[in-house]
Symmetry: C2
Subunit: 156 residues, 2 copies
DNA sequence: GTTTCCGTTCAATTTGGATTGAACGTGACG
DNA sequence: CGTCACGTTCAATCCAAATTGAACGGAAAC
């Protein structure tokens, strides 16, 4: 009755997700789907992980929004979920998106500074620029990673 | 009695920190110190932000560990805190460090897979490699940013 | 040497977000 | 149609982490 390697992966990815401020269960589901050789229904996922189907539903759809998992309607009325082939490739774009939101928020604040406080405004603006530049950079790097892993888009 | 631009910055950076899974108060303190023209004592910080001095202590030291703020012992027995000149430059290295931890954790799991499950192990190993490569890249990019902002290390 | 004023620590409390149970909506099967 | 088997929703609950209050330790001031 000892813990299998797959169990360990599920647990580990759950902890990673948690430490990144995402729902632990989303990480667990992603790990489970990655290790599964066939698509799984919500009920299977919930049963295997010992979680409620409410959680399974919420978190599979979270993964879907991030482009890390997708569902296929089975013959009956079940949805079957599977991990996308390269879920890692979505990590950095998701981060970039968050950074862009931060940049927008900070830029909004910078605009509220009156002319007398130009120095402070500039300091804040640099903060915003950092977030924006980093977002752009993360996207670029991510695209390069993708291109290396999958050199198909050679439409020369 | 309306909210000043500085207040808005404090609030915004607090929310950003919170959304990144860090203590909201750490973000608020960083924003306050950035906007302050002089170093501030713990008591001042706590008073200005309306928080306990326990929190002020804990979170200033968190910022210190991240290299975003530093204290100077004042003449008396107070510590005076100020934001480091370029706190943004610490964001990506901190992220890189987290990614490296993730990589280590995932590699550890990969090692527990038996030979029969080589395919699964390889999938996980790629996950780990992603975290490790990204960490390395984040550090490199961050160093470049720093070099551009501060081109002093030209020991030619 | 004593008092005072700091910052730190830590157990207790609070808070925000994740998770759940139960009710609901919907499309399939008879 | 009516029933059933699913996925979704949402208010209630739970939980981990942030925050606090109070007690503490130690360096400065006297």
């Amino acid at each position: 009755m000892s813990e299998t390697p797959t169990d360990r992966f599920i647990e580990t990815l759950g902890l990673i997700y948690q430490s990144e401020g995402a729902p632990r269960i989303a990480g667990m589901i992603l790990a489970l789907l990655l290790m599964s050789d066939r698509p799984m229904s919500l009920a299977e996922i919930a049963g295997r992980l010992g979680i409620s189907k409410a959680s399974a539903s919420t978190n599979t759809r979270l993964l879907e929004r991030r482009g890390m998992a997708s569902k296929t309607r089975g013959g009956g009325r079940q949805d079957f979920w599977e991990a996308d082939p390269d879920p890692q490739s979505r990590v950095l774009p998701a981060l970039a998106e968050r950074f862009r939101e931060h940049a927008r928020a900070v830029q909004g604040v910078a605009r509220t500074f009156p002319p007398e406080e130009e120095a402070k405004r500039a300091k804040i603006a640099r903060f915003a620029a950092f977030y924006d530049d980093s977002a752009e950079f993360l996207d670029a790097w991510s695209a390069r990673l993708t291109a290396m892993a999958d050199p198909s888009p050679e439409t020369n």
